[in-house]
């Protein structure tokens, strides 16, 4: 009887039921879309962050910056010495002879002892830790053209001295560079290389700790016309390219990946690393892990993915902010309005059915049965709204994924000083102090990420919950009214 009565009643009042269901559907669809967009933003941010230091890395440990004293020159920074009359370091050369110099430098010039990896790995809450060394290889080549001494026509000055002036001359040098990352090949699950996919050849094998092998970013390989099996020269040493890696999103963390020991040898930084990549036991307890790591390595800088997320700016950040603030509030307002409208319409429907409910009470129906009938109708209407809302929300999320814009993300704008290290070091700390910003790696980096709006099972469950809640709210309005109804009203209406 309950379901028969419910079904017939909803069919009779299908227009009113559709209005209530549509209101709830709108609110629920909005919740789904906002949640999906928020998730999409989260994924986009995660992809951006993954491109910084790889999948599975929850935090990085770098050396805290040590500012040099004013006026003091940092002897770790490379110097390029050229002689207008000869080659570098005083080498002889003819006029106009090309001169070239390359330097392998540690990015950020700040290093940690490799033993730090062990110390960090033993800290509470740390599941795994791996070291990495970020290098920058800078090549400067070009030529000096000395000026020519020219005497005016008519000879020297009175008195016999040579009169004239130096004209012409100058220098024409180009600066080029690429980034290198020394990877702990024994821990392939951590570090920047995990954010790339091996698209040709293979990755490092765990036994290749000292092998002269390299994995090259596919974009860099294309630019330099390199392929698997070729040799890439880094700091005068040739490395066999065993594989090409393609970054999952944005730019790769480095152009060339080498085994850590090889990178250390090239940079003259044996036993040194720039970054420890840390995977936590529980990604929700990063603050506790950070404290434990800092206790183990007091002079380090610990950067978590959350810290990095704060450095993301650009349209991704703006859209994310909008989704979180405006979208959520809009959802709350629409849902509240939908709930209220549903409640009022249900209450109004009960008012029109006073005689009907009064009659049922006169026949012996208890108040809770009458109320249950009203609530049941409202909940079914709510579920109908939920189904409509899920369909509408899923369609909206699909449309956003299919036709949504690409968002740009500016990363780590504040982290670009040469001494910042950490993920900043990976992503942007070039030797800007030396080369005045002429490097490929800028202090910050811009990535384009396609906006997606994934609809999760949890948000579907939330939608169903909201639909039921909406129905219960509406039912509570109507049920309260029905429960207060005196059976005498049934007769009063017809007396």
């Amino acid at each position: 009887m309950f379901f028969t009565y419910l079904r017939r009643e909803l069919r009779r009042r299908r227009r009113a039921a559709l209005v209530v269901a549509s209101g709830l559907a709108l609110g629920i669809a909005l919740v789904i879309v906002v949640d999906a967009v928020s998730s999409g933003m989260g994924r986009a941010q995660a992809r951006v962050l993954e491109s910084l230091y790889g999948l599975g890395t929850d935090m990085t440990v770098t050396k805290a910056p040590e500012p040099s004293a004013e006026g003091e020159e940092d002897d770790r920074r490379p110097r390029f010495r050229f002689d207008a009359q000869g080659g570098e370091d005083g080498g002889e050369g003819e006029d106009g002879e090309k001169q070239s110099s390359d330097r392998v430098m540690v990015q950020g010039f700040q290093t940690l002892d490799a033993a730090t990896v062990t110390e960090v790995g033993e800290a509470d809450g740390v599941a795994a830790a791996a070291g990495g060394l970020s290098l920058e290889v800078v090549t400067v080549d070009g030529e000096f053209t000395p000026g020519r001494f020219q005497q005016p026509e008519g000879g020297g000055r009175p008195g016999g001295g040579a009169a004239g002036e130096v004209r012409g001359g100058g220098a024409d040098f180009s600066v080029d560079g690429f980034s290198v990352h020394g990877t702990d090949v024994t821990r392939p699950a951590l570090g920047p290389l995990t954010s790339s996919e091996i698209t040709d050849g293979r990755g490092f094998e765990e036994t290749e700790t000292s092998a002269k092998v390299a994995v090259v970013d596919s974009a860099y390989a294309k630019e330099q016309e390199l392929g698997t099996g070729d040799t890439v020269t880094v700091g005068g040493t040739g490395f066999e390219i065993v594989g090409l890696a393609t970054a999952s999103s944005g730019d790769a963390a480095a152009d060339v990946y080498l085994p850590l020991a090889q990178a250390q040898a090239l940079a003259g930084a044996k036993g040194e690393i720039t970054t420890v990549y840390v995977q936590a036991d529980d990604a929700q307890q990063l603050d506790a892990v950070r404290s434990a790591v800092l206790e183990a390595v007091p002079d380090a800088t610990v950067t978590t993915s959350e810290d990095l997320a704060d450095t993301v700016s650009g349209s991704l950040s703006t859209a994310s902010g909008l989704a979180v603030t405006v979208g959520r509030w809009l959802s709350v307002v629409v849902l509240t309005a939908a709930f209220l409208v549903a409640g009022l319409l249900t209450s109004s429907a009960v008012s029109r059915r006073v005689r009907e409910f009064g009659t049922l009470k006169a026949l012996g129906w208890r108040s809770r049965r009458v109320t249950g009938q009203v609530v049941g109708e409202a909940v079914v209407t709510g579920l109908l709204g939920g189904a409509l809302g899920i369909a509408l929300g899923a369609a909206g999320a699909w449309a956003i994924t299919a036709f949504g814009p690409s968002l740009s993300a500016q990363l780590g704008g504040a982290g670009g000083s040469g001494a910042s290290g950490g993920p900043g070091g990976v992503m942007g700390a070039g030797p800007a102090g030396v080369m005045g910003g002429g490097m490929r790696q800028a202090a910050s980096r811009s990535l384009d990420v396609a906006l997606t709006a994934p609809v999760s099972l949890s948000v579907i469950a939330l939608a169903v919950g909201l639909a039921v809640a909406g129905g219960l709210v509406a039912g509570a309005f109507g049920g309260w009214r029905a429960s207060r109804l005196r059976p005498a009203d049934a007769l009063a209406r017809v007396a």
């Binding site: 009887m1 005689r355 012996g364 049965r369 007396a495």
Partner: protein, 222 residues
């Protein structure tokens, strides 16, 4: 058996105070057929509500089989209505979305009768009032007389002790009126029901073995 003693019912609407019943004493024996007559606003429907446990007196007592309905909880009163009292209303008060059979079944729902038995008993009740061929019709597909027959079947299907009818032929033409009254009287006689009917129709009043008149809340000799 009903025993009403000093029953009053005062309605207050703003500053207006209306005594719908002003001290009614009445005894109705089991199996009695009583017609309450009187002018509109005289308190007839209020008296019927007291007898049916739909309203409570302001003062006085309404005893049904020795139990004072005025002192019972709402749940207990609902239970008594469900088991012992059948109602027939002037406007039929059928659920418009339910079929004739389902409408009759609504009276069996509070008694916890299983669906299959409900359907069978409802069909029998409808057949007994001549609507065996109309089980699947909704009220909108039935004439006024047929709707009132459905209402009578609904009132009788649970085999009540008392049948209360409030102007049961008020919305019907004369021919249908007599037809409905025949049905009511026959069914009450067959089942030995206590039958109380409120009407202002003097033709119907003349058919009653016992007639009382209610005027301004007070029973007056007929």
């Amino acid at each position: 058996m009903y025993e009403l003693t000093g029953v009053t019912r005062r309605h207050t609407r703003g500053k207006d105070v209306v005594d719908a019943l002003a001290g009614v004493d009445l005894t109705i024996a089991d199996g009695d057929r009583l017609v309450v007559q009187g002018p509109t606003g005289g308190g007839k429907s209020t008296l019927l509500q007291m007898l049916g446990g739909l309203d409570r007196p302001t003062s006085g007592s309404v005893l049904l089989d020795g139990v004072d309905l005025a002192g019972l909880s709402e749940a207990r009163l609902t239970g008594i209505r469900g088991e012992k009292i059948g109602f027939v209303f002037q406007s039929f008060n059928l659920i418009p979305t339910l079929t004739a059979q389902e409408n009759v079944e609504t009276a069996l729902v509070p008694l916890g009768v299983k669906p299959r038995e409900r359907r069978e008993r409802a069909a029998e009740a409808l057949a007994s009032v001549g609507l065996g061929e109309r089980l699947g019709h909704v009220p909108g597909e039935l004439s006024g007389g047929q709707q009132q027959r459905v209402a009578i079947a609904r009132a009788l299907v649970k085999q009540p002790r008392v049948l209360l009818a409030d102007e049961p032929t008020g919305n019907l033409d004369e021919a249908t009126r007599d037809e409905i009254m025949d049905v009511l009287e026959t069914r009450c006689e067959e089942h030995g029901l206590t039958f109380v009917m409120v009407t202002h129709d003097s033709h119907l009043a003349r058919r009653a073995p016992r007639l009382v008149t209610l005027r301004e809340g007070v029973l007056v000799p007929s």
